[in-house]
């Protein structure tokens, strides 16, 4: 009938679009969007208390909300994505099609990235409208900051897909959350390594710091708030960095999923 290799992108696309539909219709998505609106709105309410720093507070809170809500989605939805389907046996009929396990996992990942894009994108629109009309100070740096938040979430999502293949949604979510925090401390671990007197401990820290993703690299919220200009080279190199992590994580997820017996 059809050549299996050629059809791969199409099948991945189908899994992805279906995942997007499933997730968007899930209550979680709607709730998170609602929360986002609430948070961003509250920043406007709270800011007059900030004694002249209204600008900063709204921008800070807005960007932080986008990051937090997106993170919530990336972790909790991602971690349960594969596992839920295996649990519910919906996956049986799915994988009995001429879809390979790899196509399935990648399709799921693309699906959740699309969901995140939709989510972050809506919040970004709201935020930008707010900053533009109310504060009259929208800049490229804001968009860049939101873009990088999205990229960071794509990295987190790849980890949550990996964990969702490995274990239950709860554990997977916990692991991903832990990875998120450790990723933000990765830089400190590296600095720490330079300060420890003991050689083997320093080497260990250096090694760990070289393996962990340095998620702080995606944080340019400060640049946006302080109005510093963002050069395109930053966005490019950060995107490449993200790919440098997403690719191996997905690779592992596919390998692990291929070995799995679906009872």
């Amino acid at each position: 009938m059809m050549e299996s290799r050629r059809g791969a992108p199409a099948r991945i696309g189908q899994v992805a679009v279906h995942t997007l539909k499933e997730t968007v219709r899930d209550r979680v998505f709607l709730v998170s969007l609602l929360f986002a609106v609430l948070l961003i709105a509250s920043s406007v309410v709270v800011s007059p208390l900030a004694a002249g720093e209204q600008d900063r507070v709204i921008k800070n809170m807005g960007l932080a909300s986008i990051s937090a809500i997106g993170l919530f989605l990336a972790i909790f939805v991602g971690a349960s994505l594969v596992h839920r389907e295996v649990e519910r046996r919906t996956i049986y009929t799915l994988l009995s099609r001429p879809v390979s396990r790899g196509e399935y996992v990648i399709g799921k990942y693309v699906g959740i990235v699309l969901t995140l894009a939709l989510n972050v994108g809506s919040m970004a629109l709201l935020f930008s409208a707010l900053v533009y009309f109310y504060l009259d100070s929208l800049s490229v740096a804001h968009i860049a900051a939101i873009y990088l938040i999205g990229v960071e979430l794509a990295v987190v999502a790849s980890a949550s897909i990996l964990f969702s293949v490995l274990s239950s949604p709860v554990l997977g979510a916990l692991f991903t959350l832990a990875l998120y925090f450790i990723g933000h401390l990765a830089g400190d671990i590296g600095t720490f390594a330079e300060m420890i007197p003991s050689r083997p401990a320093a080497l260990l820290c250096k090694g760990v710091s070289t393996i962990l993703p340095h998620l702080t690299l995606f944080d340019v919220k400060g640049m946006a708030v302080y109005g510093k200009s963002v050069e395109p080279g930053l966005l490019l190199s950060a995107t490449l960095y993200a790919i440098g992590y997403i690719a191996p994580l997905l690779f592992l997820a596919v390998i692990l999923f291929r070995r799995k017996d679906l009872q």
Binding site: V15, T90, Y92, L94, S96, R97, P98, E103
Partner: protein
Amino acid sequence: MIRYDAVQKAFRSDFLRRRRDVLTDLSLEVRRGETYALLGANGAGKTTAMKILLDLIRADDGVVTICGIPASRPRSRARLAFLPEHPYFFPHLTGRELVRYYGRLSGVGPGQVEERGGKLMRRLGLAKAESRRVRTYSKGMLQRLGFAQALVADPDLLVLDEPLSGLDPVGRKEIRELLLELKEKGMTIFLSSHILEDVERLCDRAGFLVGGRIRREVEEGGVRWLEVNAEGIDPETLRQGDQLAGKIVREGEKIRIALSPTDDLPKVTESVRAGGGRILSIRERRESLEDLFVVNVTAHEGEEGVS
């Protein structure tokens, strides 16, 4: 079309680290166009065997092929559709969307999938519910939806795990008719079932999965065999001819030999006489699938080939 070759699978129960052999030496063949039923007790490994066919589970040893393509390759499933026991589908999609998704995933073009999907939904009585979320479907509707998603890709091979379980008699009748219809059109069907009367009505062949392998295969129409009663001969002497191994039972002074239609009757009677025995009687016997089921499946422990 389907071929299992010496397939083995064992599961490790993590708690006790005990190894449970589910399939020990499964070999069977399903030919194109035939309807084959896999029969066995609960937990005998029927579902496991099917899952190995679909690459949902990996066998420890042995080879499974579909039309010659190893089951581990997604391409082997290009003309195949599967309906598991207690099917469950994505709750948030509508019936229509679900059928469309599965169809597209199997490579059916967008126009075709709409047309075929619509026809199938109507045929299966789901037309009214097609825009409702799958979440709202009843069990019977889910079963029928299962058939819709299976058939939308116009498969050559249907793999069904207990397709008639959990349905009321009306539902069963409908599905049976559907299956017969498909059979008429040349569909190859590989199914597992408990409900023997349906199996008898639908299937060309059936295999008993006992002790991890096919202990006995049965042709349509139940089992017919020739029973040869003889006396005055030692079963051992007869067993030299190895076709008869497992088919001889001693009953006091007499022995009873059960021959399948393919066995060579003249040769056997010859051997008996040559060994100094006397043929008492030759009778044609028939046994229902049910009897066979009970005998084979429940009494397989430590018994010598009685059929």
